[in-house]
């Protein structure tokens, strides 16, 4: 163990002994996400730096407190990237926060989510034990996949020390095209394209405009542009569009109305909720700005075959995340207890009582 790890392990043991909650925090860029924060801050930024990056192995191993921007710059220097195109939501975002929040960006529907790229993890559990799962290889079925389990667990199962992530080469060519159409047609079109061997890497629809990004070999992108038509955006405009979506800096995400994220089957019909909406991920992610009550938003998401997250909102008393059915809730509680028997790691950040 390094000095920092040792210090944290002791801090965790003391917290467990006195049943005092710890609030694991990186850059604080996602403090808004999930349920209310509680506990003494454990500042994860003290443990930072890329441990190893082997471009030819497509793997990077990095300490969890490393700024996400620093990691992305290191990858870019080798012509590589994080395939899940994670949102930062601020200049101080850390790799650990990115993994713990489990949020993926525009490329998610075609390239995969954070969890799809997770290969290994070292963590401190709620007993202060230093544990290592997975590794730095693409294929590994020795033991349960605890590394992927950490993604999206919001720090409720352990303090991440380092993670190993699969990385991808930057695409040789990219192009972004625009089409005017209504939401219904846009969803149908996204799904039709998804079923064809096209190099689609991102889609979005808002206010009557469908935007699609193509990424891949030069020849493939050129051929797809010719086939799909539409208006091609300048490189600068394209970058601004996808970045604005990823970072939620564009107009739709401004203002005070609660922001709901509906994760539904890509072919799901219109949400029918009051308010404005923005569609991503080939139809599978629907952002809705609505004042409708949580119960009706969640009921609608469930009818569509998905779930609803109160992504941003002043009042999280309705629960940030979709309630779990009883059988799954019991499994969650037992898992939480197995990693954190004294319930001191980010308690309540994901669900009440977890």
């Amino acid at each position: 163990m390094t000095d920092v790890e040792q210090t944290w392990a002791e801090q965790i043991r003391e917290a467990a002994a006195s049943k005092t909650p710890l609030r694991i925090r990186g850059g604080g860029s996602k403090d808004f996400y999930g349920q209310p924060l509680a506990g003494t801050v454990l500042d994860a930024r003290a443990h930072r730096g890329v441990i190893s990056h082997e471009p030819t192995e497509l793997v990077v191993k990095v300490r969890a407190g490393t700024p996400l921007a620093e990691l992305e710059a290191a990858l870019l220097a080798e012509g590589q990237m994080l395939g899940f195109e994670p949102p930062h939501f601020g200049p101080d975002a850390t790799v650990g926060g990115c993994v713990a929040a489990g949020l993926s960006g525009p490329r998610r529907a075609t390239a995969g989510a954070v969890r799809d790229f997770m290969l290994g993890v070292t963590l401190l559990d709620g007993r202060g034990n230093r544990l290592h799962f997975g590794g730095e290889v693409m294929k590994n079925v020795a033991g349960y996949d605890v590394a992927r389990l950490m993604t999206g667990s919001l720090g409720t199962l352990g303090v991440l020390l380092d993670v190993s992530i699969k990385v991808l080469p930057l695409p040789v060519a990219e192009a972004t095209l625009r089409f005017e159409m209504d939401a219904l047609e846009a969803v149908a079109q996204m799904n039709r394209w998804g079923g064809q061997p096209l190099p689609v890497s991102a889609t979005s629809w808002m206010a009557g405009v469908l935007t699609v990004r193509l990424s891949g070999a030069e020849a493939a992108v050129t051929a797809a542009c010719a086939r799909l038509g539409g208006d091609r955006l300048s490189e600068q405009a394209a970058r601004a569009h996808w970045q604005g979506l990823r970072e939620q800096s564009q107009g739709f995400f401004g203002g005070e109305a609660p922001l709901w994220r509906l994760s539904v089957p890509s072919v799901a019909e219109a949400t029918g909720l009051a308010g404005s909406q923005l569609i991503e991920w080939g139809g599978a992610q629907r952002w809705v700005r609505t004042e409708q009550d949580a119960a009706s938003v969640r009921a609608r998401a469930a009818v569509l075959g998905g779930h609803a997250t109160l992504f941003r909102g002043a009042d999280k008393s309705v629960g940030a995340f979709h309630p779990l059915p009883p059988a799954l809730r019991s499994i969650h509680q037992r898992l939480k207890h197995s990693f954190d028997p004294d319930g001191i790691l980010n308690p309540g950040r994901l669900y009440d009582g977890l």
Binding site: A109, E136, V137, M138, P199, A219, A327
Partner: protein, 504 residues
Amino acid sequence: MTAATASLPENALREVDYSQVDVARLIGELRAVLPPVALLHDSEDMRPYECDGLSIYRQVPLAVVLPGTEAEVAAVLKICHSVGVPVVARGAGTGLSGGALPHAHGVLLSLARMNKILNIDPLARTAVVQPGVRNLRISEEVAPHGLYYAPDPSSQIACSIGGNVAENAGGVHCLKYGLTVHNVLRIRGVTIDGEVVEIGNHGLDAPGYDLLALMHGSEGMLAVVTEITVKLTPKPQFAQCVLAAFDDVIKAGEAVAAVIAAGIIPAGLEMMDQPATAAVESFVHAGYPLDAAAILLCESDGTPEEVAEEIQRMCAVLESHGATEVRISRDEAERMRFWAGRKAAFPAAGRISADYYCMDGTIPRKRLGEMLTAIQGMEKTYSLRCINVFHAGDGNMHPLILFDANVPGELERAEEFGAAILDLSVDLGGTITGEHGVGIEKINQMCRQFNVAERQTFFRVKAAFDPKGLLNPGKAIPSMNRCAEFGRMHVQGGQVPHPEIERF
């Protein structure tokens, strides 16, 4: 018991003795919930279920059940839960690590009768299938829609999708298209207490912990899967394969790294050493060069324009990294011929040797040379031959150790040879199993790859789903007692491994 072990389930400490199971009660209760055809308990009838693809381990169970519905699965599990009987789930029985080896005092639950494709949605690109559906059948059924199911383990003609989930199966195309865990959206399953759970959904994520990831590769130890929604992928318009020969295996390994460094993710990237090439060539006549120390198969797929561009880049890299010969498949027949050799590696080994033992370690690709050199040394140490096929793109090696079980001592030497390869895989920063699973075969090596706190975590994860530890006990995760025993056999320099744990 010390404080550290106080909260552990009993099975984490030692393997539980189930020999006192009330067999008459068990059979009686099972008979009440299953049609006669779905319950076997005569030892001759159960013989076909005594092993999976790893036939050196055999065991007849107390009973074999073949439920046809989810309700029957739930009823069986409820009974086993209340009687306290172990349950081992089985798909097609093609597994290579003994994961579906029956328990002597348990029920073997075959999902072979649950083999229906329930729904195909071409627009959403999903298929809902029962666990007994064969992997390849999904691709066959959805082909008219221009779609396929991407993971293609070499046993895909026979293996079941439920087994693929249990082992997180890969295949030759997984560097680009992912493993089973990347291609499954939702699982319905039944926990040991008979409760139906739905994990994941038809969207791209689910609330809460990623239980879907936990289920993949869990070797039937968390729940019994009854329904799976798989993601379907558009069939590439075109594919082409490059066959490159090298006069040195290290050079071939460096060429693989160079292809990746050039920013190419090949659809498939496979390596075979000379003995493997010779074995398959005499079997399938794929036209492989026999004088090469190693050959690489490097595939590109996509639109014709994309493939042409990528193949050109691949060839340039391979040639500049010392390939002595580079052939590009001229048509689909030739491409299939290139692959036929690789896919026939296992049967080809069976043809030149009475028996073979297939290993599955994964290592960082840059350590390949060290591994192959060490294997050459081990061939001498154990007086057995080994041929090597290798998913070069992702570092997953399948050394095939050739032996004859009828020659006294050869099986034992083959097992020791295999264990030495696995130990080295761990030492080189890799893992003991890339895609075949731990099962019973590699359970001792788990003691080396994971420390005691990590193994305890695995038992606690299992207990979150299966508090009594009845699903596939004794597999995949070794008890502390077992590791202590294993450690005793490997005491080195007078030091006892794991001095921190209690001995029983």
